[in-house]
């Protein structure tokens, strides 16, 4: 057989074989797609669309190889000679010699140190390690770890009780406040403290403890909600009062006056019940300082921090001079610190009747009466600490790895401490700065972080006017772990994060020019790196959780009948990403992108418009016909098991 003849025979045969194989392959492909999704309407994609994906990193698994310091908490020694700094991504506690302005000592404390508290004698320093569920006690003389206390999930805020025998911990992952007797650590008490409590403040006499939480109580868009202040009577060890901060959230710091008569909490006052027709005139959100009279029946007043044409986004930290005369509020999104005349706040509060208290948060002319100065800082000022004599204020510039020193008398930055983070900025680091910088939005009204604190969700439902006023209520989705989960947006219109954060986003939300391409690249790099919070799997629920996992993966219902593939949990929420990367109709008035389930336990409310306030409600209220998976056959206990499993993701 000549070579030519061979070619004439084998070429058509090879082509035929290839066609057959392709046909079989496509047929198998379609069968596979049908098998795992239960749907025939999903377009063909590459295998890598679903396979060879890794679960995203968790909080505490430092990005960027610990090259940056990220100071998130400060404390000044009683004699004013040392400044303690929680270096959150380096897992270190730094001690800065304030005479030389250099880091003199450091000690490894644990994963993601988040808050500091000095005992009254300043001999002990408590450090909450959010990534380890631990509080570490240090001896300040030797700067060595003397104790490690296991506490609740994701501890943040700390406060020593009177005589330093008791330590109070805000467990942000458990939504509670935990009191630990340091002499007998088995003696513990806990108190509910709102969604994700972050900060604590103890009165000088040790009689009152105040806690502030970050997130609103889950609510539908037509319901009023807000974060809350918990006032704990330390003598009686019971919650004395709870004050709701109407339409306000994102409280992450709190200061008490020297006599404990009032507390100050920087918050964001949101206006989600209005359609987002505009961002001008504070129509979406404004910064505020909550003034809380702590006495029984005292007033709670929100004083705006912005003006009608000048906005200072993301109020974060608070510090008060020892004489209670000036309060300082750091604005993480505006890179500055506001100095506030507290006497004016007190006077306005005293005069305010109920109507005035209701009107104050919206009165953008008010802040001219009490804002003494706006003091520029470097990137993302958050935590602050005042020297004992009230002469100097230390401001942690988190994304600049530095501490600004503000002279309280002149209200100006007089010096700066370099904490030594890497000078070369990675794309993720640059993107993190973009994420926290409000200057990209119209008049600097808010940053990405304003709606996605720590890359998560603000738990609020917004009315996006762009698709028709009242027609597009949408719950803010978490950005954690979304790297491999396209498409984006609830309507699945954005195939990638560059589109998600691109020109349309600028038109809909920023109301300003889009991010320049280089900034957009950096921003996407950062968003893709946002870690999940640490997995919480309390041992006592291990069995229930395992039962829940089996329910999640089941193929047959309680009666032994096979569940259609499309009605199985793991069809749409397929591990490891817990999403099929497709659009699904679960009986909520439309077809929506299937969200992943990471951190779903901390993402209430649920469904695209937040109509479900809890995970249980998804099935008990909003899926009466099993439109959201087969669950009607489950008992109450089985449903609880399923929820426990989901909360562990």
């Amino acid at each position: 057989m000549t070579r030519r003849k061979s070619l004439l025979i084998f070429a058509p045969l090879s082509a035929l074989a290839a066609l057959v194989l392709a046909g079989v392959g496509l047929s198998r492909y379609d069968s596979h797609l049908l098998l795992v999704t239960g749907r025939a309407d999903i377009p063909r994609v590459l295998c890598t669309h679903c396979h060879w994906k890794d679960a995203p990193p968790q909080i505490g698994q430092a990005r960027d190889g610990q090259r940056y310091v990220n100071p998130v908490a400060l404390a000044v020694s009683a004699d004013g000679t040392r400044l303690y700094v929680a270096a959150s991504t380096q897992n270190l506690l730094l001690e800065v010699d304030l005479a030389t302005k250099v880091v003199a000592r450091s000690v490894e404390v644990g994963s993601y140190p988040r808050s500091l508290a000095l005992s009254s004698q300043a001999s002990r320093l408590a450090v909450s390690c959010r990534g380890d569920d631990e509080v570490v006690i240090l001896d300040t003389d030797t700067l060595s770890v003397t104790e490690r206390l296991k506490v609740g999930a994701e501890p943040v805020g700390l406060a020593f009780g009177p005589d330093a025998q008791r330590l109070f911990v805000a467990n942000s992952g458990n939504d509670n406040l935990e009191a630990v007797n340091l002499a007998d650590q088995t003696a513990r008490q806990s108190f509910g403290a709102g969604q994700e409590p972050l900060a604590l403040a103890m009165s000088a006499d040790g009689a009152l403890l105040c806690a502030v939480n970050r997130h609103v109580r889950p609510a539908r868009q037509d319901q009023v909600s807000g974060a809350e202040i918990t006032l704990l009577d330390v003598g009686r060890m019971r919650v004395g009062q709870r004050r709701e901060l109407h339409s306000a959230h994102l409280g992450q710091d709190i200061a008490l006056s020297s006599d404990g008569a009032f507390a100050l909490v920087p918050v964001v006052h949101f206006r989600n019940q209005l359609p987002i027709t505009q961002v001008a005139r504070g129509a979406v959100m404004t910064g505020a300082l909550a003034f809380v009279e702590t006495r029984e029946g005292g007033k709670t007043v929100q004083f705006p921090l912005d003006e009608v044409n000048a906005y200072f986004a993301d109020p974060a930290g608070i510090a008060l001079t020892p004489d209670d005369r000036i309060a300082f509020v750091s604005h993480a999104g505006a890179d500055l610190v506001s100095a506030i005349d507290v006497e004016v706040l007190q006077r306005l509060c005293t005069k305010a009747d109920a109507a005035a208290i209701e009107a104050f948060p919206d009165d953008l002319a008010l802040s001219a009466q009490y804002v003494l100065a706006r003091i520029p800082t470097r990137q993302v000022p958050e935590a602050m600490a005042m020297s004992a004599d009230g002469a100097l204020l230390y401001v942690a510039e988190r994304l600049a790895d530095s501490i600004a020193i503000i002279d309280v008398a002149t209200l100006a930055v007089v010096d700066r401490i370099d904490l030594g983070g890497a000078r070369v900025l990675t794309a993720e680091r640059r993107g993190e700065r973009v994420f926290h910088d409000a200057s990209a939005t119209f008049q600097g009204q808010f940053s990405c972080s304003s709606c996605h604190p720590e890359g998560h969700t603000d738990s609020i439902i917004w009315d996006f006017e762009i698709d028709g006023v009242g027609q597009n209520l949408l719950e803010t989705r978490s950005l954690r772990g979304i790297r491999d989960t396209p498409p984006f947006k609830w309507n699945g219109k954005n195939p990638d994060l560059h589109t998600q954060c691109g020109p349309r986003f600028a038109r809909v939300l920023m109301r300003s020019e889009p991010f320049p391409p280089a900034q957009l690249d950096d921003l996407v790099a950062y968003i893709e790196s946002i870690p999940l919070r640490s997995r919480r799997a309390p041992a006592q629920y291990a069995e229930a959780r395992e039962r829940g996992r089996e329910i999640f993966l089941r193929t047959h219902d309680a009666q032994g009948k096979e569940i259609p593939v499309a009605s199985r949990c793991n069809t749409c929420h397929r591990p490891p990403l817990y999403t099929d990367l497709a659009m699904t109709d679960v009986g909520t008035d439309g077809v929506f992108d299937t969200p992943h389930l990471f951190d779903v336990g901390a993402s209430a409310p649920y469904l695209h418009d937040g109509r479900s306030l809890t995970l249980e409600e998804i099935w008990t209220v909003h899926s009466p016909d099993d439109t959201h998976g087969r669950t009607n056959d489950l008992s109450k206990i089985e449903l609880n098991d399923l929820v426990l499993f989901l909360q562990s993701l």
Partner: protein, 498 residues
Amino acid sequence: MKPFLGILLVVVAMLSLMAAIDPMIAPAHEGALRLVVTQTPAQSQDESWSQAASLSARYPLGSRIVLVECASNGARVTRVLSKGLNAAGAPSLSPRGDRIVFAGRQEADSDWCIYESSLDRGRPSLRAAIAGDCADPAYLPKGEVVFVASDHQSGSSANGGVHHGVLYRTTPEQGLQRISFGPGAAQHPSVLDDGRVLFSMQTGLNLDADPSHAMAADAAGYALFTVNPDGTMLDPFAGVHDTAQLMLRARQTEDGRVVFLTGPAAADQSATAEATGLTPAAVEFARPMGPRSDSLPEMADGNGAPWVVTSVEAGAAAGWIVCARAASVNTGGAYAVWLTSAEEPAQKLFDDPAWNAVEALPVVRTAGPRARPSSVNMEAATGTLVCYDAGRSDQIHGPKAGAAAPASVAVETLARGSGTIEIGRATLSSDRSFFVSVPTDLPLRVRSYDREQQEIATSGWFWIRPGETRACFGCHERRDTAPPNQVIEAVARGLQEL
């Protein structure tokens, strides 16, 4: 060799001649302050000059725009930037500080057009022209320009003066685009750092009594408004209820203020301006509804007499650039360019007795305004108006405390010919909100009535662009407040077609 030498000599001679004729190639001194100055020819008779006057009165024949270099040994004109034009004025500098746009006209009887000129080379090029006159241009982001043009639809266009002005912008895709649609004349746009256009617009027009009177543009005052470059979101900025005031030629400054020229409005506006002149004033940009202040350190001549100021600009590191004359000196060429600051007495920067210097801009480079995305959809037939609470009022200019609650709201526009007509009635929800679709690119206002059909309040004139959703928070409510966070019943009820 000889022919080449000859050619070289000719070239050198020509260059020398050009340098003598056109000082553009005179080298600029390093670090010297450069100014773009509008000069009008000095007259022998009494000469008052006002930004409130008509265009041809502001820039009579022979007016020109020049580049002035101020050095330690004095100031001199280094280049005529409006060369070849019969009259020119109202220059505005590009953010890069290398170009200007300005109003100019070729001949005494030709229309005013918008020209652009490089500070360093070339002649002016036509940037925008429209039937009627154009004036007062300002740079938008990406090199686009916003300017005022006479509203020829109203029949008020007058050669030599933009009398009833509307705002236009240049766009790369659609050519010229009109962006203002109110019955009141628009004047003197400038661009804020946040990307909005700040401009003066007539308020207090009594269109019910005699609509044609409004077009005469004589009686009402001028307040400051902002609008997006696409014409959406018209918003009062300052002085909206000061109907007896003129607020003109507003500019945002680097120290966080907005400076403008102000004076009383009167029946004969130009006569008023000429008689009294306008004085500079300022408001804080962050709180424009707050108290006004004098924008400048006090300027007075030796006798303590006030100064007549024709333009104020900030931006020079040393202080304010002011064109002014002492009130007591009103002879030809009295207007000069001054530098004034809080620390130093006013210093004369540039004065040419043959000319009046009536406008001066320091040549500086700035970041420029931010762009604003457009929300206009020209394919949409209507716009949307949602009012959160028609009963919300500041109780000063709006309904007083104790006034009857509004029961219905009429949306009105100007009738063809005279008076106003009602487009339709909006149904109020129990929270006094309404949510309606409205025609676009027309003057609109809303009028609220109580149950007995007695009028409670009438809004100012505004407009809505195609596809725009416009929210108003109340009725003459305080403009320095945000809306309260509350469910809007009308939104839940759905859109009402008028």
